[in-house]
């Protein structure tokens, strides 16, 4: 495989609004042809990052490079970067054709060539026959498509998308997710995508940059982020997880032995752990198995079954450990016996499903 080529890089990006720090120093390399998502709660700095890349905002510190060229201070109209805005920002006084042709008309492209390119774009976003409509005469999904076509017609090196599906209903969202992903692969254009919807991020992205308080918490593939979260925030923001307090009893070369409510549980470790340290163990609800019988695997806990809900193929169980901590498990109902509320149950998992994470929860609303 050829070495992936860095297309866009952010270095030490900081942004302060008045006294409010929006970005606290970001470093990011985006590869050519990549679909990268900036994911995070609102106010984490996603949109500010995107606006700095687009040139609509100047960073307080740091730089933006596109193709090795410093574009930090380049005007937005001179960047080979285009944006699909959150509320589409279609020009209300221009029809669909003129909206899509806008960028080309500024570049003095001939009428014939423009018509041909607009036709191809309308085909790509499946809006043939809508040329004469005004934005106000379109549905949300159609406006979305026009906004995408208007940006893509300029063949940008990077397309920035700021929560482009945020205003659409769930069903349309799902359909557009697949379409956008297919379009991105077909055109080979680099997408930098903003969302606060973790499922959207997981299904569409090549890589996800999880953000919080103006920082990247973790930059990883969807699988890496889900399976190997590095902090409690990352673990709980993506998917459903249990964060269980544990104490490191012994640190060995191949792992850590944890003490959880009196149980000795082995776990894969990272190098920053010292014996006696208080840690959190992230256990995905879907990766937990519940059994009324004792199990022989070392990765197990036991507790009292507090709640149990049958939901067809899946059962949600709530288990209270001896020290009062609660665990939520989603297990398959295949071949199970009806569990007894209040009875003792055993919870077990595969060692690699338990991930030790740093506790960064206190800073949640700094």
């Amino acid at each position: 495989m050829p070495e992936p080529q860095v297309l866009l890089s952010l270095r030490g990006l900081k942004k302060t609004f008045d006294t409010q720090e929006a970005l606290a120093g970001l470093d990011l390399d985006v590869y050519a042809g990549e679909f990268i998502t900036l994911l995070g709660p609102s106010g984490c700095g996603k949109t500010t990052t995107l606006r700095i890349i687009a040139g609509l905002e100047l960073p307080t510190e740091g730089s933006v490079h596109l193709d090795g060229e410093d574009i930090t201070h380049l005007a937005p109209e001179k960047r080979a970067v285009n944006t699909v805005f959150q509320n589409y920002a279609l020009f209300p006084h221009m029809n669909v054709y003129k909206n899509i042709a806008y960028g080309l008309s500024l570049r003095g492209v001939s009428r014939q060539e423009t018509a041909e390119k607009v036709r191809r774009m309308l085909e790509l976003v499946q809006l043939q026959g809508y040329e004469k409509r005004l934005p106000s005469q379109l549905s949300g999904g159609q406006r979305q498509r026009v906004a995408i076509a208007r940006s893509l017609i300029l063949s940008p090196r990077v397309l920035l998308l700021d929560e482009p599906l945020g205003a659409l209903d769930l069903q349309l969202r799902r359909a557009m997710q697949q379409e956008l992903k297919a379009m991105q692969q077909q055109l080979g254009i680099t997408f930098i995508y903003i969302t606060h919807d973790q499922e959207e991020a997981l299904t569409m992205s090549d890589r996800i940059a999880l953000m919080r308080d103006g920082r990247f918490v973790q930059l990883d593939t969807p699988r890496g982020l889900y399976e190997q979260p590095r902090t409690a925030f990352a673990a709980s923001f993506i998917g459903e997880t249990n964060l269980i307090s544990a104490t490191a009893e012994a640190v060995k070369d191949d792992g850590v032995l944890l003490d959880i409510a009196g149980f000795h549980v082995p776990c894969n470790s990272l190098d920053w752990i010292t014996p006696g340290e208080q840690l959190l163990l992230s256990l995905r609800a879907q990766r937990l198995h519940v059994s009324p019988e004792p199990v022989s695997t070392p990765c197990r806990l036991s507790g009292t079954l507090v709640e149990s809900h049958y939901a067809g193929g899946e059962r949600t169980s709530l288990i209270r450990l001896a020290d009062g901590q609660l665990l939520r498990a989603r297990s398959s109902t295949e071949g199970e016996a009806e569990p007894e509320i209040g009875g003792t149950v055993f919870v077990y998992w595969q060692q690699e499903s338990g991930v030790l994470v740093r506790d960064d929860r206190e800073r949640a609303h700094a």
Binding site: A54, G55, L56, A75, P76, E77, V81, N82, T83, F85, Q86, N87, A89, L90, F91, P92, H93, Y102, G103, L106, R107, R150, S151, L154
Partner: protein, 289 residues
């Protein structure tokens, strides 16, 4: 502002709240219009009363070089008033709409405070400014730019300045509201797609604020044709605007029917301008009337 066109039947029947307005419009707009229209067809009697014979004689009298000259002068003055109000008012309105909330309040106040003083008194202010020994001439003399005081007062120039001064809030306010309402993401989108700031302004901001501009043009153009006291105070003896003609016929010659005919011409002109405005801006959103 009453809307003669849209206080229609269907609206009145559905909206009992509109009834008082409808009565007001019928009494004070409809009836007086009919009165003036009727009056314009009469003839002045010896004792300054109006009466038969009826006919279009007053209108025929208007078709003369004297009145044609006055009409052209009035239209020219109104046209340049609207134009200068636009050129000066748009940047001000734009700047105001783009300012912080605090600065905006102050700018708006600056614009509105003069309204709290009588217009006549403010025009007297201009008389002092323009007079031969006034501050403008003294400043120019002191700077050595002129050797003799300039004749500023009682000129078309003075009337034009006074008009723009009096009318400019009527341009600023509708333009301000249009600019203020604009979604700036549109301008950002335009820049993002390759427009320089100037191109973005011309292709996005200006068309999107056009309803405000058109409203401002109408609101400054129409009253400028009829304002008579301004040219009375600041203009020379030959600055006879349409408003002055009406004024003279009414109060000096006491020819009520002829004054009415002149008024009807002015009203028709106003109607024509509004019609034109509706034609031009009919499709645009955010029309004022």
């Amino acid at each position: 502002m009453p809307k003669p066109g849209s206080v229609g039947k269907h609206q009145a029947s559905r909206e009992p709240m509109a009834f008082p307005m409808l009565v007001y419009a019928a009494l004070f707009v409809g009836l007086s219009l009919m009165y003036i229209l009727g009056l314009s067809l009469m003839t002045r009697g010896v004792d300054y009363t109006a009466g038969p014979p009826l006919g279009a004689q007053n209108y025929l009298r208007i078709i003369s070089p004297l009145y044609l000259r006055s009409l052209l002068l009035s239209l020219r003055l109104a046209f340049f008033t609207a134009l200068f109000c636009l050129l000066l008012g748009y940047p001000f309105a734009y700047f105001m709409a783009r300012s912080s909330a605090r600065a905006r309040t102050w700018l708006l106040l600056l614009l509105i405070v003069p309204f709290w003083t009588n217009a006549l008194i403010r025009i007297y202010g201009w008389k002092i400014l323009f007079s031969a020994s006034g501050p403008i001439n003294q400043a120019l003399l002191a700077l050595g730019l002129i050797s003799r005081p300039l004749r500023l007062l009682y000129t078309d120039f003075a009337v034009q300045v006074g008009m723009v001064y009096a009318m400019i809030p009527f341009m600023v306010l509708p333009v301000y509201s249009a600019v203020e309402r604009m979604d700036w993401a549109m301008v950002e989108a335009s820049r993002d797609l390759g427009a320089t700031p100037l191109r973005a302004f011309l292709t996005v901001t200006l068309p999107m604020t056009l309803p405000g501009v058109l409203a401002g043009l109408v609101l400054t153009f129409i009253p400028s044709i009829g304002l008579f006291f301004l040219s009375d105070l600041l203009g020379g003896s030959n600055t006879m605007l349409w408003g002055n003609m009406v004024h003279n016929e009414l109060l000096k010659s006491r020819d009520l029917p002829f004054a009415a005919a002149l008024s009807v011409v002015l009203l028709s002109l106003t109607g024509l301008v509004i019609l034109l405005y509706r034609r031009m801006g009919g499709k645009a959103e955010g029309m004022v009337f």
